[in-house]
Every structure is written in structure tokens, then in C-alpha cells.
Symmetry: C2
Subunit: 467 residues, 2 copies
Amino acid sequence: MTATEKNHPLVVELTKHLPAGAVVTDPDLLASFERDSASLCDFHLPLAAVVPSTENEVRTAITLAAAHRVPVVPQGALTGLAGAANSVRGGIVLNTRRLNRIRHIDPANRVAVVEPGVSNKELREAAAEHGLTYRPEPSSWESSTIGGNIATDAGGLCCVKYGVTRRFVRGLRVVLADGRITAIGRSTIKGVAGLSLTDLFVGSEGTLGIITEATVALDTPAEAPLTLAATFHEATDAGRAVAAVRARGMTPSLFELVDRTTLRAIDAHARMGLGDAGALLIAQSDSGTGAGQELDIIAEACHEADAIDVVVGEDPAESEQLIQARRLAHPALEALGPLLVDDVAVPVSELAWIIGEIEALAQRAGLTIGVVGHAGDGNLHPAVVVDPTNPSSLEAAHRAINDIVDLALSVGGTVTGEHGIGLLKVPMLERELDPVAADLQRQIKELFDPHYLLNPGKVMTAPAVNE
Amino acid sequence: MTATEKNHPLVVELTKHLPAGAVVTDPDLLASFERDSASLCDFHLPLAAVVPSTENEVRTAITLAAAHRVPVVPQGALTGLAGAANSVRGGIVLNTRRLNRIRHIDPANRVAVVEPGVSNKELREAAAEHGLTYRPEPSSWESSTIGGNIATDAGGLCCVKYGVTRRFVRGLRVVLADGRITAIGRSTIKGVAGLSLTDLFVGSEGTLGIITEATVALDTPAEAPLTLAATFHEATDAGRAVAAVRARGMTPSLFELVDRTTLRAIDAHARMGLGDAGALLIAQSDSGTGAGQELDIIAEACHEADAIDVVVGEDPAESEQLIQARRLAHPALEALGPLLVDDVAVPVSELAWIIGEIEALAQRAGLTIGVVGHAGDGNLHPAVVVDPTNPSSLEAAHRAINDIVDLALSVGGTVTGEHGIGLLKVPMLERELDPVAADLQRQIKELFDPHYLLNPGKVMTAPAVNE
């Protein structure tokens, strides 16, 4: 950090008004606040990182930043995949990691009240002490925070059966851009008192306010799942199996698809003998005594769709083995090079089609694009391998992501199924939104944050005059 | 209608610009557009009722009304219970009953695209032709419309297991207060592209815009349910049974509680031999082959909570008999006099407590208050019997509702679990909302409808200067 930054009037005031340790200015430490887990997105060294321990400290930081018109980027565990938590030029970051108290667990009413920096894992463990669980389980659950999960409406592998984060958020406390504090939502199961401000904050990616407390629903845990793995010659066959399972009214608790390119990468990485298959489908059932029967029906659907091979794990240990290939997908692709990870969702019926199109696109562009998909809900993560030694490779990867987004939009899909807009998809958001809807979103943003101080440049950009 | 009203410049223009039959001005016919199903709420004869058949006609009506600064009250089937659809002084109503096309059913992706005037029953029947169903099932499902269901985020008996309307709404088309048309939301299962405007409209009670089309999720139907009915000496015993069922991780597909006062009314009305019981609990399971086992567990919980009697229906016919008492609750209470029906929700653990408090309150006030509750989600409908021959009776009933709302709020409950604010609860909304949250709600309302032309006086009132 240069002397200029340390002497920035906001940094001076933050240091003065906040407890020791709540303001990080050491450049070496600051580097760890620069960016989330999205590769290849823009980021900057922040002026300072504020790490508040109380809501009041959040308010102090926001009020001071507002007075100085300095941007604030809210952060959780930095596991996001769209650059939403990346620090912006001339701004500070406000990291919630120390707001990590579990305030209250009410087993009778199955709710938990937690601060935003509590990790998904910590909440899950605290709920387990009462024989309960917190359902939403994004892949980052071991480290990602509840605040971040809510800000991005996090999905994951389990939401095919249980729904995404939104469904479990009852109420929030937030610090607004002008430093006002408000409590929104409710703690009861049902409630329709006025507009749902809580739903407006879920998925708002830190652009409307800073979440300082969340009331979330807990649930009784499911049984340990049993797993089925089926290989297919072609993704279209796997797509037919998915459709057949759904047509039978069955909702697996996990339903994942791995494409040919990713299978080859996994094979190269871990020699699992999957290299010849065109697609791998993995399904789980957590229906306890009914699980075996559910997997039998799924197995039948796979055989009818000309599966090469169908294996059913007879117990949790075997089941865990069968899901290994899915877990290795990301590391195996990453072994090939830095990844630009996309996140589109399409109607489930278009799953096989878009995988075929992405394969053709990769061939035409001379790119390696591995696709892992949440087959049960039509959410795909094409990962483009970038060649760091070739400067045009990143550009080609961005072009490919662009094309994949267009493919998704052409069949009624969305530019982001669960990772959010962040920085990565800002140019694409308005391709999806109706212009009037985009206008309304911007007006709501400006109502909450007229000077675009909260996470500026994320989700939607300010009109040119404000920038 | 007086000549003045028929010659009101807006009515003249509406008649000129809309097709024959789309504008109702005959006072006898207009009377049927005056009010919804809430008793004892204020209403007025509208200047005219617009009954559009197309989105474009909606836009024409809204644009003309805006130009004349005449209020517009959106209406569906008028089954609402909070006066939200009641016509206001000097305004027109816009009734969606002719916007009743089912545009599209996509069985592979389990979505339906419908106009707002399609009834819940019609959508359910259309879905059934594809082996699917539309889950949300408010008590009014035979006549209430999808538009109305969405505008009120309708609940009902089944939502204890499947969730309320919000969970099934993916996207909307709306005509805004200034006549602009926009499409919001998505049709995919998952999606996080920007702020959730759809969730803002769900439950907004016609205050933000007119819904002209909805994309909703369909589902595979459940099995025909089996029913259990248990009587208890006291509501607190029933409350313990509810808690025990929940503690075992079981979610019945219906879980209803009927209090002592209502049981006496039912007995007087239909002689079902329930008059001695202090509470009736009815549970259903739609888990097919697992239903019997689920009801056994619920029966055990009831016995442990000192149930007087527990009966399990062995088949759908017997089950239907057991649920009769619940169905008769409202007619039986209505036989005693006009009802002021309340709708609070409390944490489930407070259910038995609040029923006891309401009983005490009724005794103190010399009122008859029957309580029927969605026990599984803590949502109660205390119904105060009003004596039409005694002018002070209505006032006493309103006071009782007020007191019940305060009881609910004192334990973290909400002033409305599923009926909405409408007219009935306007004075109570801001007792629940944090002042900053109330301010934000009003600012969002004003962003969408700066002149308070859409359903004015409902949910939240305009600041005095605008009235």
C-alpha cells in the first residue's frame, strides 16, 4: 500500500472509528481480500478491508464510506464463481467473516438466526446437535457463508429435490447504503404482510445492502443416500433417461450429468475407465427404505435409454465411490489449465441438445469445454479450458461463453442458473432481461443505493453519468 | 348509475376505445364487481368495470385511467378475504375473468403458461390431462383465479407440505401503472439473473401492476390421501401432538386444528358428536404405500398427547368422512352470524398458547370466536361472530381482531399468514413492519405507481398529501 492509500481520508476515519483489527490496511493481507473464486475476472487491491464484528461496526463503515462516496464490496468466504465479491478500483471491501455468531436455534419451530459470516457447514453442524439440518448445500458448503449463500441465492447438487437457498430464507437484518438498519421478512412459516423485501435481497449479490443477520428454516435430515451411476454412448441417451425419470414423477435427491470431454479429463486424471463413454449420469435417492425402489426405477429408465452400464451402490460406502467421478470433474478439468466456468440453465428437455451444441462449438473453436450439469434442474456448468501461454485463448473462451449463453437464451434459458451475474455476466444480463424489466431493476437498485456505492459494476452497471 | 358517472370522461373513453362488452356500466351488473368475499370491509360502486380479453385491452384501460388519474382496482374471482379487490370511491375495477386462456402446457418441463383469469381448478384439470397437477390449492380453488392466487400468494390446506403459491411462480407478464408491458422472471427451474421482480409481484395484491400472464411450475400428483382425526380435551394437548409429529420429522400433507368453539358450532350445525371435545386435529398423508405408516406415527403422537379418540380412515372414502368436520367449520360458524375472519400466523410452538388466549379473550369480551388453524404451519383463522342487530358488536369484533393480532405479534407472529393485508389489515401492517422496512415498501410502491392509482388504500395507504 502506498502512503496515499493508507492516508486516504476514509481509511483514516475507519481506523479511527472502528476497533483495532477491524480495518486491514497491510498490502500483503489486503491481497487476500482482492477477489473471489472466479478465474479471469477483473479485481483491484482495495483501499482497506473492513472486518466488522458487530452490526454497529457495519453501520459505521457504511456510513463513513457513504460520506466519502467510496464504493463498498461486501464479501463472505470468497467462494463465488462470478466475481461478485471482487474488489473494485478505489473501493473498500467489507468482509463478514467475523460476523460469525449463531444467535439462536429454535428446534421446535425449526429456525435458526445467524450472522452472515457463519459458514454453511457451521450452521449445518449446529442444527445437527438438535437433530435438524440446513438443506441448501452449495458445492462450497464447507467454507461458504450463509450471507454469501443468501446474496447469491446459492444452489448446488441437492436443490433438485429441496430447492435453492431462497426457499429457506425467512427474514433478514440489513444495513442499507445510507447506514439505516432494517429488519425485513418474518420468522413464521407463512406470512404475506406487504411486499417481500426479503426475496428482493436474496440473490441481489450485495448491491442493495449488507446482510447482518438471517433467519432461516431448518429441516429434518434425510437418510444417507444411495447412488446409481450409468454410462451412455451419447449425451442424448442420458437426456432421454432424465426425461423418463421425470415422467415417472420421481425426483432424485441428486441428479448429475457429466459429458464426454469431462469424462476423458477424469480418466486422464484418475484412470477410472470412463474414457469411452459419451456421458455419465449419477442419481441419488435419500428416501430411506424407499431408496432402493427409486433407484430401480431410475435404472430401468437408463436401460431403456440404451445405457452402456448401470451400477447401483448397495450401501453408503459403495454410493460414495460412485459419486467420485462427479467430484473429480472440476479438478480433472482444472488439471488441463485455468477454467472459465459458465453457468446457464435451460428447460430440462433441452439439456441433451445444448450439450451437443456445446460439443460442436468446442470443436469449431478448437477449445476444450467440459460440461457438468445438474441434470434434474437443467443447470449446466460448461468449463472452458484456457491456455495461459496463448493470449488469444482467453478471448476465445469468453467468445465461447457468449455463444453458450446465446444457445441457452434461444431455448428460453437463463444466463445464470446459480452462480449469479457478478462481474462475469454483466454484459449478458440485459440480453436476457426485457428492457422494461431491466429499467425496473435499475430503478430499484437506485432506490436502495442512489450513488451506486454498494458493489458497483456488479450485476448491472450505473448509467454512464454516475460512473 | 347516475348520468354523471356514465358520462365520466374516463368511462366515455373506455367505451370508445375498448370492444363492446369490455366495459360494464349498468349499475345492476356493476354491483357484482363491488367487493370480494371479506365481510364487513368498505366498498363502493365502481364508475365502470373493465373486463378485458387481451393484454392490449388491459394496457388501453390502464393508460386511459392513468391519463384521467382514476384509480384502478384489479380483480379476479372475488374470493379474497381481506377486501383487497373491493372497489374504491371514484375508481374503476379491472376484472381479469375473460383473460382465461391456458396458453401452453409443457409436460416435459412441467410448466404452464396461463392468463390470470384461468381458475385454479381449470389449470388443475388441464394439467391432469398430462398426468400433472398444479400444487397450490387454496380453499377457494374451485373458483379463484391464478392471477388472484399469485397476487395474494395464496396458501391453503396443502401448503404445509408443498409450500405456498410463491414457490410455483416462475415468471409473469405485467402491465405497469403507466401502461408499459414487461415480462419478468423466467421459465427454467433455476435462475438468478438480477433482482427477483417476480417475487416482488407475488403477494403485492394488485398494487404494483396487472398480471396478464403467468408461467407456473406443475408437478406430478400425489396419491389420494388417507386421513386421521383425533379429538383432545384441550387445545394444548393437540398442540403437544403437533409438536411431537414435527419432532419426528414428519410433514403431513394436511394438518388442521379445530378449536372448542368451532366444534360446538359444528355440532349444533350437523350433530357430529364432537361437542365435548376441546380440540380436533386432522392429519392427512398422501405418501401412497407409506401413508398408513405415517398415520400410525401421527396416531402414536396423538395418544401420547392424551387424545380422547383417534380414528384413521382406512380408505379415501372413510378419509373424506373424517375431514367433513373441518369442511363444515366455516358454514357452521357462519350459521351463528356474519363473521369477521382473521388470519394470523405464529411460530408453530405458540399455536396452543394463542388458541387459549383467544378463548380467554372471547370470554372477556362476551364474543363467540371460533378458531380453525393450519396447525402444521402455525396459521390461524379466528372467526369472530358479529351480531348484526347490535351496532357495537362489529366494533367489538374489530377490537378482538386487533387484540389477536397483538397476541400474534408478541410471539414473533405476523398480522397475515395468507389472506393478505387488503383493506382489513391496513392499520395493522405497520405494527408488524420495522419503520425503515415500511418506508422501503412505500418507496417501491411509488416507484411502480407514483400516483397510487393501482388499488389505492390497499396494503399501504398513500402519504396524506396524495390522498
